[in-house]
């Protein structure tokens, strides 16, 4: 059988850390390859190489038998490779047809005017192929997320794409939209177009793909036809590594006092009757896919997003109409998933960031800040967090590594001695050493009696740290796992929306 894309021995390292170790895979025309693996397993690096963003150190790629070595994203496009990212690259203020041709409008009779009739005809043709029944003149701003994605696919078709790569295409889609997308993918395959489908939603991967490749730590952990890759096998290939060593032992047991009680929290389209409790000294893990509503739940509790109904109690006290100020006052701390955009003031120094959430404690009469005290508490924070530098007053946090930045975020919140700490992806993008530090800090926090609500995409992290794990899917808590040792396959299955695993909930 012919091959469309053949990748062999792909190797790449960043700053001396090898992130891809000779990965091989093959895509045949008219077939879909599922690429699965945890964050940091090398999926995005291999796709960036394919798209011409990075160049590999070793390995070859062949497209339709021809050697393929893109130097930039444009090469990839002209070779017939199209990406459908989670974040779509459309201009919402332009119409559908204009988005399709924005970088190369056909001219009308050689005049400098857009040949409206031509782009309309071509747009109608490709929209028909993706079964999207909208007028080409519709502004993209009026389309739903699912429709926009179909427009992206239509754009790929209008550029004669031979290989279309989908990166987490279903996270922001409703179920009917997902079904519709899968129908289109089947049609694309029937036309002989090759597909690479990347997703954490393993059920979706099975529904779409003909063969599956599993990556782990930059290695190809396993590959084979989809029929020989049940979800359980995929999961065990993905998480195969022994994890006991990096998670420190817990010295203390959870207490009795409930520090956070959420009851029937609802917001149309985002959350449906979510109830949960966190006790003092307890770590509650929240497992769910990106876009499952896990971060949105945290943001609602912390007062960043509104909710329509439900109650939140902190230490038994109701937190009505929460705002971040009120939530912080009540004893909540929140490490957001967007460290650069929300966690830190990147242009500020370590010391300035350390006290930004607790200015009252370092301010004297008239709100005058005590700079000596700020310096000393910041240095103290730096020492207890094992920060890489003690120049807290000079160093801007943008010059710190990801791990050290995360320590500053945590240190800033620990100054408030929170009764509840919500951690959203606390170890994303930081190295193993820094991860262990973060785990140590989380344990120390619980030993002091704080409750922790831990959100993570890494199942092992949740299993390694949590006392209890809740899984959330499409805005609902779908399962609860109460007892160690946790069954990771069951948790993953519940998080990916597998109804069959509901029996596992306690």
């Amino acid at each position: 059988m012919s091959t469309l894309l053949e990748v062999s021995g792909l190797t790449k390292s960043f700053f001396g850390v090898t992130v891809l170790h000779g990965v091989d895979f093959v895509v045949r025309p008219g077939e879909a390859l599922g690429l699965v693996g945890e964050n940091g397993s090398g999926k995005s690096t291999s796709m960036n190489i394919l798209g011409g963003v990075h160049r590999p150190e070793a390995g070859t790629m062949r497209l339709d038998g021809q050697a393929y070595a893109p130097q930039n994203p444009k090469d990839a496009i002209s070779a017939g490779i199209a990406f459908i990212h989670q974040e779509l690259n459309l201009f919402p203020n332009l119409s559908v047809e204009e988005n399709l041709f924005v970088d190369a409008f056909p001219r009308w009779n050689g005049l400098p005017f857009i040949d409206r009739r031509a782009i309309r005809a071509q747009t109608e043709a490709v929209l028909h192929e993706v079964d999207l029944d909208i007028r080409p003149s519709t502004p993209v701003a009026r389309l739903s997320q699912g429709e926009r994605q179909l427009v992206e696919i239509a754009k790929a078709l209008s550029r004669k794409a031979r290989l279309i790569i989908f990166d987490e295409p279903t996270t922001s889609l409703t179920r009917p939209e997902v079904d519709r997308l899968f129908g289109i993918i089947a049609k694309l395959k029937a036309r002989g177009i090759g597909i690479i489908y990347i997703s954490h939603a393993l059920e979706d991967v099975l529904a779409v793909c003909d063969s599956i490749a599993v990556l782990r730590d930059g290695h190809l952990a396993g590959a084979g036809p989809a029929s020989e890759m049940p979800i359980g096998r995929m999961i065990s290939l993905m998480v195969g590594r022994s994890i006991d060593t990096i998670y420190p032992d817990r010295q203390t047991a959870p207490g009795k006092q409930v520090v956070l009680a959420v009851e029937a929290l609802s917001q149309p389209g985002v959350a449906e009757k979510i109830s949960l409790e966190v006790r003092a000294g307890e770590i509650v893990g929240l497992a769910g896919l990106m876009g499952s509503g896990r971060s949105e739940l945290a943001r609602m509790i912390f007062g960043l997003d509104r909710f329509a109904s439900g109650t939140i109690r902190v230490n038994g006290q109701p937190l009505d109409d929460p705002t971040p100020e009120k939530a912080i006052e009540a004893g909540i701390a929140f490490l957001t998933e967007d460290r650069r955009g929300e966690g830190l003031l990147m242009d500020f120094t370590i010391a300035e960031n350390t006290v930004i959430a607790s200015l009252d404690s370092v301010a004297g009469p008239l709100g005058i800040l005590d700079n000596k005290r700020i310096a000393s508490v910041s240095r103290e924070m730096g020492r207890s967090m094992h920060l890489s530098t003690d120049k807290v007053e000079e160093t801007r946090v943008k010059h710190l590594s990801g791990g050290n930045q995360q320590k500053v975020v945590i240190g800033k919140w620990l100054r408030r001695e929170p009764t509840l700490f919500i951690l959203d992806e606390p170890t994303r993008g930081i190295d193993v050493g820094a991860k262990q530090e973060v785990y140590r800090i989380i344990n120390a926090l619980t030993a002091r009696g704080s409750g922790v609500l831990l959100i993570s995409s890494e199942i092992e992290e949740l299993i390694g740290l949590s006392d209890r794990i809740l899984t959330i899917s499409r805005g609902e808590i779908v399962a609860e796992f109460n007892n160690r040792p946790f069954d990771r396959e069951a948790i993953m299955a519940a998080a990916t929306g597998q109804r069959a695993w509901e029996g596992a909930s306690a």
């Binding site: 994203p73 970088d103 409703t174 149309p268 389209g269 985002v270 876009g291």
Partner: protein, 326 residues
């Protein structure tokens, strides 16, 4: 709840038009002279210079930039015409005004796209420099214009007064450019999302540069139309006009953050402002209240726009699960 928001949105979306209709009715009821054909023609003639200026401003605003230099640019081009071209036929003057305007726009565009200075500062500095040069050339005297230019004011083309004709030509060109050419659509793309535009391989710098040139050209033409109407310019000529042009564009729905708006809207905004002033004049309102009413209307229109944006944001909040059937 959702249906209610949609209905409110529809009203808010058309708020400037509703505002305009209300004003027409109010002025019409207060004076029977208001609804005369001649009066409407006068409104458009009076609105022509500022509308042409605002059309140029629209290009710059659409890319997310700003041009504060158009008023001074208008003054400088007027000085050049009055001082150096007293005996030339008017087409030569018009051509000179367009060329000089384009040059000024090119300087602005160069400083913004190549030197990387914020457009607010570049054009603020140019505001000083251009006015200074104009005052230097004219020795801060009031300049009179030759007859061949002044007679233009009474001239007609195909029965259309020259000011309205010029206005129509500029409007149609700008409209065609923005809606019918690749460049126009790319202006919207650049203003809507500069990063995506760069990723899509669009020549972002060139597009922004050209928008400044167009704004300069429009400042020249608008100034030219205006001097045919007033006949003489002093050193204060064109002062603060940049704010009036921005106000007209914003009133017509152009966003200061780029990517949203149309020349039709801008023209509507300019005419709305002049209609208010004309109506106040006709009903013999205290001239002191003109700026107050104008400012209040601009404020109202933008406040409504802000509310509209908020509602859209709420309606478009990302959903994770299907909403219950509406």
């Amino acid at each position: 709840m959702k249906i209610g928001s949609r209905a409110l949105l529809l009203i808010l979306q058309n708020a400037p038009v509703i505002l305009f209709l209300v004003l027409l009715v109010v002025f019409g009821l207060m004076s029977d002279r208001f609804f005369a054909f001649n009066n409407f023609r006068n409104i458009i003639i009076q609105a022509a210079p500022i509308a042409i200026l605002a059309i140029g401003m629209t290009f710059v605003l659409l890319t997310g930039q700003i041009d504060l230099s158009v008023g001074s640019s208008m003054y400088l081009t007027a000085c050049v015409v009055a001082l150096y071209m007293p005996d030339m036929p008017w087409p030569a003057s018009l051509f000179a005004v367009i060329a000089l305007g384009a040059l000024i726009g090119a300087v602005n565009g160069f400083a913004v796209t190549r030197l990387g200075i914020v457009s607010f500062i570049v054009t603020l500095a140019m505001l000083f420099v251009l006015r200074g040069i104009g005052m230097w050339l004219s020795n801060t005297r009031t300049l009179m214009f030759p007859d061949q230019i002044l007679t233009l004011n009474r001239a007609t083309v195909l029965g259309i007064p020259s000011a309205i004709f010029a206005f129509l030509v500029v409007f149609l060109c700008a409209w065609a450019l923005l809606t019918q050419t690749p460049f126009g659509r790319q202006v919207y793309a650049v203003g809507g999302d500069p990063d995506s535009a760069r990723k899509a391989g669009l020549p972002v710098s060139r597009i922004v540069f050209l928008c400044f040139v167009l704004a300069g050209i429009c400042a020249g033409i608008g100034g030219f139309v205006s001097i045919t109407q007033i006949g003489a310019v002093g050193p204060k000529y064109g002062d603060q006009v940049e704010f009036a042009a921005i106000a007209a564009a914003v009133l017509g729905g152009v966003s200061l953050f780029g990517g949203r708006g149309s020349v039709g809207g801008t023209v509507f905004g300019a005419i709305l402002i002049k209609t208010v002033q004309n109506g106040l004049n006709i009903i013999n309102a205290d001239p002191y209240v003109y700026p107050l009413v104008t400012a209040a209307i601009i404020f109202l229109a933008v406040a409504i726009d802000g509310t509209r944006t908020r509602i859209i944001e709420r309606l478009e909040r990302r959903t994770i699960r299907p909403l219950q059937a509406v």
